[in-house]
């Protein structure tokens, strides 16, 4: 209890950059900080600088809709995110920082029998890999979330759902701060307000980075910059198969508890949860065009509101308090791109689309292992950048490219 009252700095203000670090991590979000934390904790590598252009957690880590789950479609994805959920479950105790992880379950609604087939496929794959996930029918949905409008007199009646009991929401900022504190305490230097302007290499290997606060020598650079990944990889001369899009979300004014489980409608591309603060948090799908401009659209509010009320007409009077956007780095197969590139010592974590935050701890542990040992861990081997040059995609997409 005493820690509650003691005023103690979460992380130290760092002075000038050193001239050299063993490892430079570009991006002070959940992935960059997790990688730094696990480098220090699991491998004793502490001569690490995390360079963040703005403040820590200012990008996707602080803008996502905080959902954690592992009920993916591909065996590779299920294994990877499954391990991530396990790590998340232990993370609060490990960091001694309450991440407010609410595992109240995750319901992906099916509005057609075609959608139910995909749900079944996911449930079956999930179960074979030990992930708690099953298809429930309309009655099952009613039991798990009686507030849902199960009427047939709506545009998209609910036919069933995929239920993932261990899915949940977590306090995203707390994850960032907890990891930052953990890394800082182990000696990692966190430098906000430091923008990388160049990546130096020689003979196909990274030798250092240039920043707005001076140049640094290093052997390893890890880019964990989500929507900005292309621009950072360009500095190293590494082309990436990703496009940058905005994803939007909004919250309502705080309300008394109304919804525990997370509701996702694949048909209407809307998802709804209620935060511990009482806000109803609603998100949608990415905007289809690429952009680096993170301002929100009004059409998003209108569409999401319409879809939300189809599911929860009771929320008619809930009032939208604020909307925001984040940048997403979308890969062609909706699976991440993790690990080595053609430039030695330049590693990436990108291609997350909208799933990045769910993977923070597993990205941290696997990338740290890769940096420390030079070997790509088995769990992330399917997610190499090389797969796009060898016709071995790991597709989380279910429907054909155009029909669904």
């Amino acid at each position: 209890m005493k820690d509650v009252f003691r005023q103690r700095r979460m992380w130290r203000p760092r002075g000038e950059l050193k001239r050299r670090y063993d490892v430079v991590i570009v991006g002070g979000g959940s992935h960059g900080l997790a990688t730094a934390y696990y480098l220090a904790k699991n491998h004793g590598i502490t001569d690490v600088a995390v360079l963040e252009r703005s403040y820590i957690g200012s990008g996707a880590a602080g803008r996502n809709t905080t959902i954690i789950r592992s009920n993916y479609r591909t065996p590779e994805g299920v294994a990877f995110y499954g391990r991530s959920v396990e790590l998340y479950e232990r993370l609060a105790a490990e960091l001694d920082f309450n991440l407010l992880f609410s595992q109240h379950g995750h319901l992906t609604l099916a509005h057609s029998d075609r959608a139910l087939i995909t749900m079944t496929e996911r449930a079956e794959v999930n179960q074979l890999l030990g992930v708690d996930s099953r298809v429930v029918d309309r009655d099952g949905v009613a039991g798990l979330c009686p507030e849902l409008n199960l009427s047939r007199e709506v545009t998209w009646p609910i036919e069933g759902a995929l239920y993932h009991r261990r899915g949940g929401i977590i306090r995203h900022d707390a994850v960032v701060w907890g990891l930052a504190r953990g890394a800082d305490r182990r000696g990692v230097e966190i430098h906000p307000g430091t923008e990388v302007t160049g990546i130096e290499s020689s003979n196909g290997r990274v030798t250092g980075v240039r920043t707005t606060r001076g140049d640094i020598a290093c052997d390893t650079v890890v880019s964990a910059t989500a929507g900005w990944s292309t621009l950072v990889a360009d500095l190293a001369g590494v082309p990436l198969p990703i496009t940058t899009h905005i994803l939007q979300a909004f919250v309502t004014e705080p309300l008394k508890p109304f919804l525990d489980v997370i509701i996702v409608s694949s048909q209407m591309h809307v998802y709804i949860s209620q935060t511990d603060r009482g806000e109803i948090l609603i998100g949608a799908e990415i905007e289809p065009y690429t952009t680096y401009l993170g301002t929100g659209t009004f059409g998003f509010l209108e569409d999401s509101a319409r879809h939300t009320l189809e599911l929860f007409p009771q929320l008619e009077h809930a009032a939208v308090l604020r909307q925001w956007t984040g940048l997403c780095d979308l890969s062609p197969d909706y699976s991440p791109i993790l690990g080595v590139t053609e430039v030695g010592g330049f590693l990436v974590s990108c291609g997350w689309g909208t799933y990045g935050f769910k993977a923070a701890p597993i990205v941290g542990t696997t990338l740290a292992e890769l940096v420390a040992t030079g070997r790509t861990p088995e769990l992330i081997a399917p997610f190499t950048l090389e797969r796009f040059s060898t016709d071995s995609l790991v597709s989380e997409l279910a429907a054909a490219a155009v029909s669904h």
Partner: protein, 104 residues
């Protein structure tokens, strides 16, 4: 922001009326090897700056056109009807493919 796009046929309209066709990629002239094919199919410049791209006016004239847009501001600098040319190939439908669990 929900920016406006000046459709060459219909005039300025909200971006939501249009389908985005992706940045204009160069289609190989001759048979590419697997690596070159992957590069053509998947790798994108994804610039923060002016990008030439395809748009289709779905809720309007139902025609394809090309635009130059600054991806940092979404300002559309110009739009024009396509000029037929072999090397400005559509790489594939970019927008419609989404996983069955959106964004979460």
């Amino acid at each position: 922001m929900s920016f406006l796009i000046p459709c060459p046929n219909c005039g300025s309209r909200d971006v939501n009326e249009f389908a985005y066709g992706g940045e204009i990629a160069v289609r190989p002239e001759a048979r590419p090897n697997v690596r070159e094919l992957g590069s053509y199919l998947y790798f994108r410049r994804n610039v923060a700056g002016v990008q030439r791209e395809w748009w289709f006016h779905r809720l309007g004239c139902e025609a394809w056109f090309q635009a130059e847009r600054d991806t940092r501001t979404n300002e559309v600098l110009l739009t024009e009807r396509p000029r037929a040319s072999r090397d400005e190939a559509p790489p594939g439908p970019e927008a419609p493919a989404l996983p069955d669990t959106p964004a979460v």
